[in-house]
Symmetry: C2
Subunit: 763 residues, 2 copies
């Protein structure tokens, strides 16, 4: 049993480490040579340049102004100063709404904590349940005196907890509803006021059926000319450029090495040598610079050939296309309607932003998608409930006996005391830790396999999987004993009415554990986030070895991004803990409030100064966030029900059954009321924006604007690179191709010649 | 325990009663004076008239041709002769697809029965499990020798059952998929090839927001002129004519009585008298004909005043409208898209056919809808699980003691032996029976309260509720002991893995009960359906007392309709029984096959000759049917799993877990693949039909065609009636009203004057 003083020690430890991180951050961020690590967002926006050149040499790298160090927490108010509209403008709506999740945490838990401490804590504290229990030799900690455990069975005091459960539920729902409404209107506002973007006019069409007579491009054009006449503008087919992308990536890597060796040559004036074999460990020794130049040359040629292949071979055209319309209204219509009889062909949906597209998944056919979903569903089930099995296996391999059996020749090494204790003490823990570190990546790979076509939806899917995993393995896993699989087994063999009781009994006992968890995972690691240790090290390494030009330095920056797929499920865990413990052990709440407050400030700072926005989904993740908080609320109600059942508060417990029903109903109401704003695009808004645009820019060349919006990044990269003319000439070539209808039966397509002459397969 | 001979007796009884019904039907249907009872569909279509007048007087009423009676089952092949396309043309797609449900039953169960009897029955029969059990004094019936009960525990023979379960699942899914595909294409075909219908061009708009400046009609017009320019054609606002409808109904009833008294006068040449009080039981005596004529006059005036009120009072205009477009394409677009930011305003959906509209529910706002749904959800839960409580209460009231307590003055009457035995023996049963008879009506009222806006959706909703009720109270209720509530309670207190075991153990024991149930409910009552006893009696009563003219006789016909809300859940019960018993007691299957065959023939006959089609939803119910068969399949798999667990076939049972997962996946696949065909309308189809129509009828006056399509039936009725000129003059009045924009900010509505002059609020 953890006592209050134990928690005090843990709190002191975590607070001081958080404080240490903040001090280190305050010092490091003021050094000019770290500027690009702590303010990359501003560099990316072009609003900040290298520290002024007029100063002394040393001052370029180290800040010697002692006054700057005094206000070492100044960045906090600074981070809070930027108003929300400016923040949206600066970092996008996704980031701004992401911050609102932390704010919701504060909005929900501050009043709840206040209520709980003024009502429930006195009720619990003045009870004598634990004293009586102690007579029967049951130990308890001081924190338990504040919790519901202290109320003795059959007490009338439980009515207080039930009334509070109602109050908490209604307050949470009230806040959730208000936020949903606010975020929905922010999203629509954002979509309406933002500047012209290609995805407003464009629809992604998937599963285009194969056709013997016509190419994909011709087929798309004819289909939309027939079925959306007066609206269709142009389209871009999707090329299977995965191989090309791989080659380009390889070339970039080689170029990096070339720069490295050239730098080395400059510094040491000695031509560097290298081995050609695996990882440069063996093979023939050659001059590194010459070798890389020839390799890059070879690759460039290969890339040219491959690019030729991709653009000319009809087989490399995928059965998907980005179709653009003349108005937002027409795009909204096309995205929301079904095109053909067979609802698995000509699937239309809003095109994600160009940078949000996950190109690899575009050509997956419908049947394959459903099968993939099944496979991943089963795989995820096993991952969640049985992940301990392979890990335990690896752990036995990584144990002393395992190593001695598998590799007897290592025996002399293993018997060294230091190595022995390392293997025994750390290796098993490291195996588990490694798995948990790689878990988000594994989940991401699963989502990719499942076939989502935008990065934002991949992240959303991974996030919900990660949440489930956390729920089962962190929340339930720490409350109940045994592995997830053992729990599953025991749940199956328990009556349904036992579930809440099992969890309910365990919940109050684990309060002190979760308080420590919140301090370690919530406080200290959030404070570490702001220090950005890894990017700091990587940047300086790169800066030393690779950077030659200003552009290289820019590329050496690694601002990172919010990482919705790992960040959001982590926050949700705190919602879950907060709501579950609100009526049970209110002592947990202050710790959670501190987490939300601290995280809000830190992430606001990071979003303003550091993170680079990878895509803009317009807060499309909000329905998920809302749903998970609702889920946490329902779990908390069920847990309380189970707890009160064990306390034999039979007369009051039935009043709790109403709560989950009302909560589910509330969720359905919100879903119907607000979710469409995140899925559909209202025609009225589209029409208003179209009309406005027509009035302001009557002569806009929309086609030119949209022509190359959805080009595979590999073609774009090379445009930025060095082969600009090349791509352009290719474009001109294809530009002049007309698309005459080859099919007899389609000869009467309305006006094919006039339009198709211009809108033919543009890259 | 039922023995084989018991079942034989029951079968003989039911077969002979079915036979009797068929003979009676064969005789009655050949009598000319019953012609309108047994062939009303043809009269309604105008394809059949009264029997030829040239014959002798007697022959007009009774068929004396003895040869006609010989082939008394001839109607069966006749019913099967009409090909499906003709049937669709004759009775609509709904009816044709409804028949396919019976066909699916045959398609699924004939091969399954064949397989089960060739594989499972020998496996079960040659086992000796029951003989061993008998040594331990466990009785069993002969049928059990054919069932899985006869296989002894831990036998390797269970592999046979598992393989068969796989085979049954795959076969059922194969048939389901094929049928879904077929029905979906039939629906699209039907929608595509059918003649022009108003609902193809029309969208129902609900929740129009109130506006201070403009009337609903003006608001609708401006909204759609702005947001669907070039497409909007006209609209019809919805009047709150519920009071008017009541008055019109009352008038019709009075007219009926007038006719009755006039007939009486003709026959008896004596002016009939009546009392004006309650039900004509007391009050002043008056001349019945004069009284009715003055009453009708009074009502007519009232109706005129009310009609005036409805059409002139802006408060009687509901915030809903039927908006028609120039093309099917535009209507499809509008129905499938979201109109405004607030997804609970300007809700658009396909307009149901005019005769399918449930007018009363059109003006319910969104929030009220969600609350109503919650209330009905809770109410239905209580209805399903606690319906025995009020019934038991009424039963105690209706018992001897109850009556003696409540009404002591009845004591002398109650002590009469005959009345006493009636009260004791019948009353409790009658109370339950009455409840079950009124159940569909209760469910229908619940659906109406829930706010669906078309009769077809009301029926679909009632059907799914009825199915659930049957599942809990007939299927589970007969397998397990105790009331539904007791079962619910015991389920909550059981571990989850006990559910299938509880049901699984009971299933084989109940086989003989369900066989008897199938024969009574399935065979005899289906045969009774064809006899149409109630409509027969009602028709002849009406014919005798009321009918004066040919038109009256037409109104006296009561063809009825399929009654999807009661019929379909009943069929589903047979699917459930068939699938559950397929692998357990294959002896049930032949009885089910006979039911499906018989019902198919009977209902095909009824649909061709009797039932009147009330609406056409284009087989919109198919996804429900599919889903319920899938549900039955999953239940059957779980039951088998439980059964095998009790048989301790531990090595083989885990192989069954895959089946429900695959089945759920299959359902999701089908849902994605086919369901959109029942919810959305593909643009390609709409465009094709538009183009075709434009080519064939370039000068079509679509506006004239749609002008009055969605008039409240009460206005239409009166048009048919006698006030035709009246309504028309009213229309002309409103026709000339123009809708100038009253609002300043909307002055720039594109071309309002040209269009609004013509499309103003048409009734």
């Amino acid at each position: 049993m953890t006592t209050l003083s134990d928690i005090g020690v843990a709190a002191a430890l975590n607070i001081s480490s958080a404080f240490l991180f903040f001090v280190a951050f305050a010092i490091l961020r003021l050094q000019p040579f770290n500027d690009r690590v702590y303010f990359p967002k501003w560099y990316l926006k072009g609003l900040r340049t290298e520290p002024v050149h007029g100063r002394a040499f040393v001052r370029k790298f180290i800040n010697l102004d002692w006054r700057a160090y005094l206000g070492f927490l100044n960045w906090m108010p600074e981070a809070l100063r930027m108003p929300e509209p400016e923040l949206i403008d600066h970092a996008g709506l996704d980031s701004a709404v992401y911050l609102r999740i932390y704010l919701i945490g504060l909005k929900i838990f501050v009043p709840i904590a206040f209520l709980a401490w003024t009502v429930l804590v006195p009720v619990n504290w003045t009870s004598t349940g634990l004293e009586r229990a102690q007579i029967r030799n049951i130990t308890s900690s001081d924190i338990d005196k504040l919790s519901v455990s202290n109320v003795h069975s059959r007490s009338e005091r439980f009515w207080g907890h039930i009334v509070m459960a109602y109050a908490f539920t209604f307050w949470t729902c009230y806040i959730l509803r208000k936020e949903y409404e606010k975020v929905a209107s922010m999203r629509l506002e954002f979509l309406a006021t933002e500047k012209r973007r290609p995805d407003q006019f464009t629809v992604l069409v998937r599963n285009i059926p194969p056709d013997l007579d016509e190419s994909v491009s011709e087929l798309v054009e004819h289909f939309f000319l027939v079925n959306h006449p007066n609206h269709y503008l142009t389209h871009q087919v999707v090329y299977d450029a995965n191989k090309l992308a791989k080659l380009v990536k390889k070339k970039k890597k080689l170029k990096n090495w070339l720069v490295y060796y050239q730098n080395k040559l400059e510094r040491t004036s000695e031509r560097p040598e290298m081995k050609t074999g695996f990882l440069g460990l063996w093979g023939k020794k050659v001059d590194a610079i010459d070798y890389h130049i020839t390799e890059i040359d070879k690759l460039s040629k290969e890339i040219d050939v491959e690019r030729e292949n991709v653009t000319n071979d009809p087989k490399s055209i995928m059965p998907a296309a980005f179709v653009s319309f003349k108005t937002r209204w027409a795009a909204a219509v096309c995205a929301q309607t079904q095109q053909t009889r067979n609802p698995t062909l000509w699937l239309t949906e809003w095109a994600p932003e160009p940078r949000d597209v996950y190109w690899k998944n575009l050509p997956i056919p419908y049947v394959s998608l459903t099968i993939r979903r099944l496979i991943i569903g089963v795989a995820f089930f096993f991952l969640t409930f049985f992940f301990m099995i392979p890990i335990a296996f690896v752990q036995t391999l990584a144990s002393l006996d395992g190593i001695q059996k598998a590799a007897p020749w290592l025996k002399p090494l293993v018997t060294v005391p230091f190595i022995k204790s390392f293997i025994q003490g750390f290796l098993p823990g490291i195996v588990l830790k490694l798995f948990l570190i790689f878990l988000p990546t594994i989940l991401m790979i699963m989502s990719k396999f499942e076939g989502f076509e935008s990065i934002s939806s991949l992240e959303r899917r991974s996030a919900s999987r990660y949440y489930l995993f956390n729920f089962v393995n962190i929340f339930l896993g720490n409350i109940l004993t045994g592995t997830a699989f053992q729990q599953l087994d025991s749940f199956i063999h328990q009556p349904a009415n036992q579930y809440p009781i099992t969890i309910g009994t365990a919940i109050p006992l684990k309060a002190s554990f979760f308080i420590t968890y919140i301090m370690v995972d919530g406080w200290a690691s959030i404070a570490a986030e702001v220090l950005m240790l890894r990017p700091l090290i990587v940047y300086h390494l790169k800066n030393f070895f690779l950077v030659k030009t200003e552009k290289d330095r820019e590329e050496a920056m690694d601002p990172g991004s919010i990482g919705f797929n790992t960040g959001e499920p982590r926050i949700q865990l705190y919602f879950l803990l907060g709501l579950v413990y609100a009526a049970v052990t209110p002592a947990v709440l202050p710790f959670i409030i501190i987490f939300f407050g601290l995280a809000y400030v830190v992430f606001r700072h990071q979003i303003i100064n550091v993170y680079n926005q990878e895509y803009e989904s317009g807060a499309a993740f909000w329905p998920d966030v809302h749903f998970r908080i609702i889920l946490a609320l329902i779990v908390s109600q069920i847990v309380l029900m189970g707890l009160l059942t064990t306390k034999k508060a039979a007369s009051s417990t039935p009043f709790l059954i109403v709560l989950p029903i009302l909560t589910i109903w509330f969720h359905r109401y919100c879903k119907g009321r607000f979710e469409p704003a995140f899925v559909k695009f209202p025609l009225q808004e589209a029409m208003m924006k179209d009309t406005l645009e027509r009035a302001i820019e009557p002569n806009l060349n929309l086609k030119g604007y949209l022509q190359n919006a959805y080009v595979h990044p590999v073609f774009k990269d090379s445009m930025d690179d060095d082969d600009e003319e090349e791509v352009f000439s290719m474009e001109l070539e294809t530009e002049s191709v007309t698309v005459p209808t080859k099919r007899q039966s389609r000869r009467n397509t309305p006006l094919p010649s006039r339009i198709s002459g211009a809108s033919s397969p543009s890259v």
